[in-house]
């Protein structure tokens, strides 16, 4: 069976004056229809670059240096620019943290939505407006007719993000990549947006890639997770497995450092140091300078993703025989 999206051995580099920097180093994952995959990791891990690579929006010094991206059975990183444009923003939509990356401040919502529809389909203005209204209802915008004549600045952040989702829906996408869609929003509004995205995956038969640094959010929304560190996927599998039995020391550290996992007032477990800069990624396992289990081989050889249980959970660590039973959450 072919998946909706398959990413194989993807490599992304930035061509800089002093040479090329590898930002994404050989990552592979897949996604099916109606499925929700979380890409998690801290700042600089390569989450957004991965999203941009899929939708072919890498900006200038960045380029895909290797690997394959197959979408609906077609290898899209080999397509002509024209064919690509058809897919991007049509079959694949991206939602950003800041709705104003998508919205034009000087146009009404109606104008922007009608333009988007007409850029992809040859239909009249009245019909496009009707379609816009239908999508606004789908994202539960109150009094949608009124909203069509308003400007983005007349709306709250949460409302704008709903409008962005409605715009994404205009072209009936099969895949939505949401890059920190609720990071700038309050929790009550975040909960509503996450609920909406989950519902839409089901009703519109879409796949969702949810990019976020918030483990709690992905753990509630997604079926599977890929944890990134320094440009690589270091652990992946079903969300429940990873949250209850994380096996990579970095994932274990991330979960244990969350305030919610320990007794109130106690010291939080901390991961020493910080994520390396792309110019100084350590030899061997990139995490070894911060790892409580690091041994000699970790400093010398790079660990590959290895199956840890029944072929549905993988982690890239030399010392997997030592990593059970360290998480506080379920002890």
């Amino acid at each position: 069976m072919t998946h909706l999206l398959e990413v194989e051995n993807l490599e992304v580099k930035f061509a800089l004056r002093f040479g090329d920097l590898t930002a994404i180093d050989d990552i592979s994952f897949y996604l099916d229809k109606k499925e929700k995959l979380g890409i998690v990791g801290e700042s600089g891990a390569g989450k957004s670059v991965t999203g941009f690579a899929i939708i072919n929006l890498l900006s200038k010094p960045g380029y895909i240096a290797g690997g394959r991206i197959r979408f609906e059975g077609r290898e899209i990183n080999r397509l002509s620019a024209e064919a690509l444009r058809q897919i991007r923003g049509n079959r694949i939509s991206m939602i950003f943290q800041d709705p104003m990356m998508t919205l034009n401040p000087v146009l009404t919502i109606g104008t922007q939505m009608v333009e988007t529809v007409q850029a992809h389909r040859r239909i009249g203005k009245a019909e496009a407006r009707e379609l816009a209204l239908e999508k606004l209802r789908k994202v539960y915008i109150p009094s949608p007719e009124k909203r069509l004549d308003q400007y983005p600045h007349e709306m709250s952040g949460g409302m704008r993000q709903r409008i962005v989702i409605a715009i994404a829906l205009l072209t009936d996408p099969a895949l939505i990549i949401a890059d920190e869609p609720t990071t700038a929003l309050d929790v009550t509004i975040q909960a509503g947006i996450m609920e909406l995205l989950t519902e839409l995956c089901e009703t519109e038969a879409m796949g969702l890639i949810l990019i976020t640094h918030d483990l709690a959010v992905v753990s509630q929304v997604t079926e599977r997770i890929a944890v990134m560190y320094a440009g690589r996927i270091i652990e992946t599998g079903y969300t429940t497995d990873i949250v209850t039995h994380p096996r990579h020391p970095y994932t274990i550290g991330l979960i244990n450092s969350l305030p919610g996992t320990r007794q109130a007032g106690s010291r939080l477990e901390q991961i020493p140091g910080m994520m390396p800069n792309l110019t100084a990624i350590p030899e061997g396992c990139a995490f070894h300078p911060r790892c409580f289990l690091a041994a000699d081989q970790c400093r010398r050889h790079r660990p590959e993703l290895t199956a840890v249980s029944g072929g549905r959970h993988w982690a890239a660590c030399h010392r997997l025989d030592q990593t059970l039973g360290h998480n506080h959450l379920h002890r």
Binding site: D214, V217, T240, P259, Q270
Partner: protein, 339 residues
């Protein structure tokens, strides 16, 4: 004798409004053929009262724009209140002159969300840290000041050999350590921290929260902690104050507010917290959106979104009422014993 229940700082009926009407010309409008002058004010903090007890961490939570930062800045004297009082121990400090305020500026320090914006980019760490010490102790010798800098740097986990570097040479987490160091340099009693870990990654966030908890324990500090991250709040707070539209809805010990929130807004807010590994709980959906603080709703500021609101809620402002020995709730239905 001070003990854990004597207030270190009290705020009483604090009101802070911002006039955003602009120039006189902007304020003039033609209404029914007559020229009128209209002022526009943002009612950021409205009649808030509570006490902060010596040695506790009192967290203020609430959604964006509810007035947390304004409250914090008014408490520490960065903004003069329009009405109400700020009392430090037994001294009213909200109307003091800069000179009279001097000793309190040493006792009260502030830490901000963005350490980059709050550190002077052209000053080395050593100078950044020395400056407040020299300012508050003009007689101190250069050697003693340098020693103090090294001490505090060690305490916050930044190697003193980096004292001659500039802020941009440090990571976000290290910069936040340096701004905490700067606050600690003058041996304060009370620290107002406005979203001090919100910009940091979780693994770094844990480092900074540990540092703040350690400093509190070692120095007996009192914290007013502002954040929108409710998991952080649950972890570090002694008591929690919940704000909505510039108003205090509820104030209670951390453990009890998370297990038994009483105010309808607190209930909705806490139900929306995503928790690791828990199935998506049924969060309480609020109707509508937060109204603007320019035109406050009548009665209870929350009534338009509250599923329990009745006629009284729409007309009469609920006052924060003691509920048991240690909790305050501002809700008519709770006061009536119906919730």
């Amino acid at each position: 004798m001070p003990n854990s229940t004597t207030p270190l700082l009290s705020i009483r009926h604090l009101v802070k409004h911002f006039d955003i009407s602009g120039s006189l010309l902007d304020q003039l409008t033609l209404e029914k053929g007559r020229l009128r002058r209209r002022r526009t004010t943002v009612k950021a903090v409205n009649d808030v009262s509570f006490e902060i007890r010596r040695g506790e961490t009192l967290s203020v939570v609430g959604e964006s724009g509810c007035g947390k930062s304004t409250l914090a800045r008014t408490v520490i004297g960065l903004y003069p209140p329009n009405r109400g009082e700020v009392v430090y121990e037994d001294r009213r400090i909200d109307h003091l002159s800069a000179r009279q305020m001097l000793p309190f500026r040493r006792k009260m320090q502030m830490i901000f969300q963005d350490p980059y914006a709050s550190l002077n980019p052209r000053m080395t760490v050593a100078r950044t840290l020395e400056e407040p010490v020299v300012f508050h102790n003009p007689g101190i010798s250069a050697a003693a000041a340098a020693e103090k800098v090294a001490d505090v740097m060690r305490q916050v986990g930044v190697d003193p050999k980096w004292a001659d570097r500039y802020p941009h040479e440090f990571s976000g987490g290290q910069r936040q350590r340096i701004s905490i160091a700067r606050a600690l340099m003058v041996d304060p009693e009370f620290i107002v921290a406005d979203e001090p870990v919100s910009a940091l990654d979780v693994s770094i966030q844990a480092q900074i929260l540990n540092l703040l908890m350690d400093a509190q324990e070692q120095r007996g500090l009192t914290y007013l902690f502002i954040t929108h991250d409710l998991s952080v709040v649950r972890h570090i707070s002694t008591r929690v104050a919940v704000m909505y539209l510039g108003t205090l809805c509820e104030l209670a010990p951390a453990a009890s507010i998370f297990s038994h929130p009483r105010h309808p807004y607190t209930q909705a807010l806490l139900s929306a917290i995503p928790r690791l590994g828990e199935q998506r709980s049924q969060h309480i959906r609020l109707k509508g959106e937060v109204p603007t603080p320019i035109h406050l709703p009548t009665g209870c500021v929350f009534h338009g979104r509250c599923r329990y609101a009745d006629a009284r809620c729409r007309e009469e402002v609920p006052v924060a009422t003691a509920l048991g020995p240690d909790a305050l709730v501002a809700c008519h239905r709770v006061a009536e014993g119906k919730l």
